[in-house]
């Protein structure tokens, strides 16, 4: 048991922090916000290719580095500290995982290979209008058509969906219900019958798209794995992505705390730095309690995932629920403690606040994830010895 980063992990973190501090600046994020492009292409090229992060969690067999969840959350945490406008999360934590869990060897070799090489950005089109994050609620459909498939439906809230090279579309067999009949389709480029619209998002640092599919014909090889068998893979993907997003939230929350502490040490009112007033000190202290605990939740969950146990869903929900609340609270408190300057466009506080808001509901809000934990509790037999990793609870 060693619940601290290894030297190699420390290196990854340090180099990520250094690189992002230099390149993923507020100025560049604001430039992207003002532009028509969805992300900072130079930054993405740097990240994916030079830094090699796109290869980080791709298995070695497909040209990646084969690192684990701990390494992914390290990168995501650092990414969250900055407002990096790049489809790293969409590519590595959403689409890449979906391919990994559901693709056949050829598909993995091709798609993951290109992802690892930094040649392919990607996202997952899962949610739909008036839908949440339950697999059962997918309405988009596929049907067999000769050797290929025909897709129909509307996908919404697809992060970086208009700007990535590859889209993984979740759809169900026409007439199927529940978790039956679900498939994932890998689409590159815009196909006939496919309409993609950029949505106006409150958080401008991570764009969303709506994808409309109107009798879109795709080849047989576009379907990842065997048709109708994607439920487990989708479930795992959403869990991994939720945990990765939670890590990003920890980074964001930490940045809110750091910036606030810096500010309240300098800002003087009533003849004292406002950081000497308990109302301010104690709010900062509470932020730190939550941030450190959120971080523990993420690291703990990442270790569990790397163990490959059946606790994935529970620990992912734990991390996502806790970190969503933590980030939102810290980002809100950061504004409050910055006073008037905190509500201005010029100051970055609102960018973090909006990111916190967006990631709070994305992949399920805290109440949704706590309910998932509650289901696990209900199913848990307290009289059985569940000792794992010497684990409490």
């Amino acid at each position: 048991m060693n619940f601290a980063f290894t030297e190699e992990q420390e290196l990854i973190r340090d180099s990520a922090r250094k690189f992002l501090a230099e390149h993923a600046t507020s100025e560049r994020a604001r430039a992207v916000m003002e532009s028509d492009s969805g992300y900072d292409e130079a930054l993405w090229a740097n990240i994916a290719q030079e830094m090699g992060w796109a290869a980080m969690v791709v298995p070695e067999a497909y040209g990646g580095l084969g690192l684990g969840m701990v390494e992914l959350v390290i990168l995501q945490e650092e990414m969250g500290r900055r407002l990096a406008c790049a489809p790293f999360f969409a590519t590595s934590a959403l689409a890449g995982q979906a391919v990994l869990f559901q693709g056949n060897e050829d598909q993995k070799s091709d798609l993951l290979g290109r992802i690892a090489a930094g040649e392919l950005s990607a996202s997952l089109a899962f949610s739909e209008p008036s839908m949440g994050w339950n697999l059962e609620d997918i309405n988009a459909t596929w049907r067999q058509d000769g050797d290929g498939f025909v897709l129909n439906g509307v996908k919404r809230h697809v992060v970086d969906g208009l700007d990535t090279d590859l889209l993984i579309i979740a759809a169900r067999k026409e007439g199927s219900k529940g978790c039956e009949g679900l498939s994932l389709f890998a689409l590159e480029g815009t196909l006939d019958g496919m309409a993609c619209t950029r949505l106006v998002t409150m958080d401008q640092t991570r764009p969303q798209a709506q994808i409309e599919l109107n009798n879109v014909s795709v080849s047989g090889s576009a379907c990842l794995g065997a048709p109708g068998t994607a439920a487990d893979a989708l479930d795992k993907t959403l869990n991994i992505a939720a945990l990765a997003l939670a890590a990003e939230q920890v980074g964001g929350a930490q940045e809110c705390l750091d910036k606030t502490v810096e500010y309240v040490k300098e800002r003087v009112q009533f003849g004292r730095p406002i950081g000497s007033f308990q109302a301010v000190k104690h709010k900062c202290a509470d932020m730190m309690v939550e941030v450190e605990s959120a971080r523990s939740a993420v690291y703990y969950a990442a270790c569990i995932v790397d163990e490959g146990t059946d606790e994935l869903a529970e620990v992912a929900s734990m991390a996502k629920a806790y970190c969503s609340d933590t980030y939102f609270k810290c980002a809100g408190d950061a504004i409050q403690l910055h006073g008037g300057i905190g509500v201005t466009w010029e100051h970055d506080a609102h960018l973090y606040f909006k990111r916190a808001r967006a990631s709070r509901s994305y992949l399920g809000d805290p109440a949704y994830h706590r309910e998932r934990v509650a289901k696990a509790i209900e199913a848990f037999d307290t009289s059985v010895d569940h000792f794992k990793y010497g684990g409490t609870v």
Binding site: G132, V200, V268, Q269, F270, I274, G339, G340, S361, D365
Partner: protein, 399 residues
């Protein structure tokens, strides 16, 4: 103790409601529900015209004495007016800083000449006001005001010359006048040596720069005074008494207009209830608890106001008046969060490119400022603890 309005009051209510329904139509139909906190620049010209229209018919400042354009309205009538105004969808009042703050301050502390000069144009909707209290280093700490002013001979006799910077000056970009707290006695500190000046904004020496806020709109401003001038007689109260007058102004923020604000809140809450019904979240047990909480607290907000106003009419200082700001600001901020949680991912999506958000999204964002301006929640708690509960003051630092 009762909540009934008298038959005379109900007659008054009918009169008000009828006038609004007849007048918020035709030319003014399009200003209904427009503008207001967080969205102050929306249809400003049209709303300014509406302000004049109300003034022409004597509905602008009903609490004021008749001689200055008011109606000597009773408390009940003020409550009725505020509620009916909001219920009819009356737009955000462009003149509200004059009607609610500058006017009452001048009525309470001003000279007869000042009343005659300044009150009728406010009542007529002809002159708009803004508030110059906060400074970059005097946000929560008003006693730290550094904007200074002194008397000089000018073209029209003695004039105040003003140097300094104000910030968070809402609506200054539209206003004709600003009431400005300045330091007029060199070397003074804290509450002493301040004066409350009335300064025309349309002059050289005044530079107004809007501050873009997180909604993308600009409602606040920085106002730079660089040799700006106003006549010597445009000081409210004696020179050096500015602190007392400014505190009076802040007290007027808790008048009958709070009932109107609550009706706006009610409209927002109704809209959110309808959204929850439409998207099915009304069946979500957690959302139900939060909706119930918001609903209850809004009723309680009104009951708090009625207690406070009843006492104010009897000229009693109500300690519960001190809780009003933190209560409504916190409520409003929570309402914005509730709205976003009801819509979930869909709450992200705005109306139009490049960054046009919808009204309730703006409530969510702008309400973060509610707990900051006019005294942060932290300052409000100090005020409650010290003034209502008599707890000791915090030691002031020396740095």
């Amino acid at each position: 103790m009762d909540l009934n309005f008298s038959p005379e009051d109900e007659t008054f209510r009918d009169e008000v409601a009828t006038w609004f329904s007849e007048n918020l139509s035709g030319d003014f139909k399009h200003v209904r529900y427009r503008g207001g906190s967080g969205d102050q620049s929306e249809m400003f010209a049209e709303r300014r015209e509406w302000e004049r229209h109300m003034g022409r018919h004597g509905w602008s400042c009903i609490a004021w004495p008749k001689e200055y354009g008011g109606r000597d309205a009773t408390l009940s009538q003020q409550v009725i007016f505020a509620e009916e105004y909001a219920r009819a969808g009356g737009p955000g009042r462009t003149g509200h800083l004059g009607v609610e703050l500058a006017g009452p301050t001048i009525l309470a502390f001003g000279t007869d000449e000042q009343k005659k000069r300044f009150l009728p144009p406010i009542a007529a909707g002809d002159e708009l006001w803004s508030q110059g209290f906060s400074e970059p280093n005097a946000g929560s700490d008003l006693a730290n005001v550094r904007t200074k002013a002194w008397l000089e001979d000018g073209l029209n006799g003695k004039e105040w010359v003003i140097e300094g910077q104000k910030i968070w000056t809402s609506l200054a970009q539209f206003a004709d006048w600003c009431f400005v707290v300045t330091r007029t006695e060199e070397g003074t500190q804290g509450h002493k040596g301040l004066s409350y000046l009335l300064v025309p904004l349309d002059q050289e020496g005044v530079d107004i720069r809007p501050i873009k806020q997180m909604t993308g709109d600009a409602e606040f401003n920085e106002v730079f005074f660089d040799g700006a001038r106003t006549a010597a007689e445009n000081v409210v109260g004696a020179p050096g008494d500015g602190w007392k007058v400014a505190m009076g102004t802040l007290a007027f923020e808790r008048g009958a207009s709070t009932l109107g604000q609550q009706m706006d809140f009610r409209n927002e809450l109704y809209e959110i209830v309808e959204i929850a019904k439409r998207n099915g979240k009304i069946k979500d047990p957690h959302i139900r608890q939060r909706l119930a909480d918001a609903w209850m607290r809004l009723k309680i907000m009104r009951a708090n106001s009625l207690r406070m106003l009843t006492k104010a009419e009897k000229a009693e200082l109500a300690p519960e008046a001190l809780i009003y700001k933190i209560y409504w600001a916190t409520w409003h901020r929570n309402l914005g969060e509730l709205f976003m949680d009801i819509l979930g991912d869909e709450a992200e999506i705005g109306d139009a490119a490049p960054y046009q958000l919808n009204g309730l999204q703006k409530v969510f964002l702008f309400s973060r400022a509610d707990t900051i301006y006019a005294g942060t929640n932290q300052i409000q708690r100090n005020i409650i603890a010290e003034r209502a509960l008599g707890l000791p003051r915090e030691p002031r630092g020396n740095t």
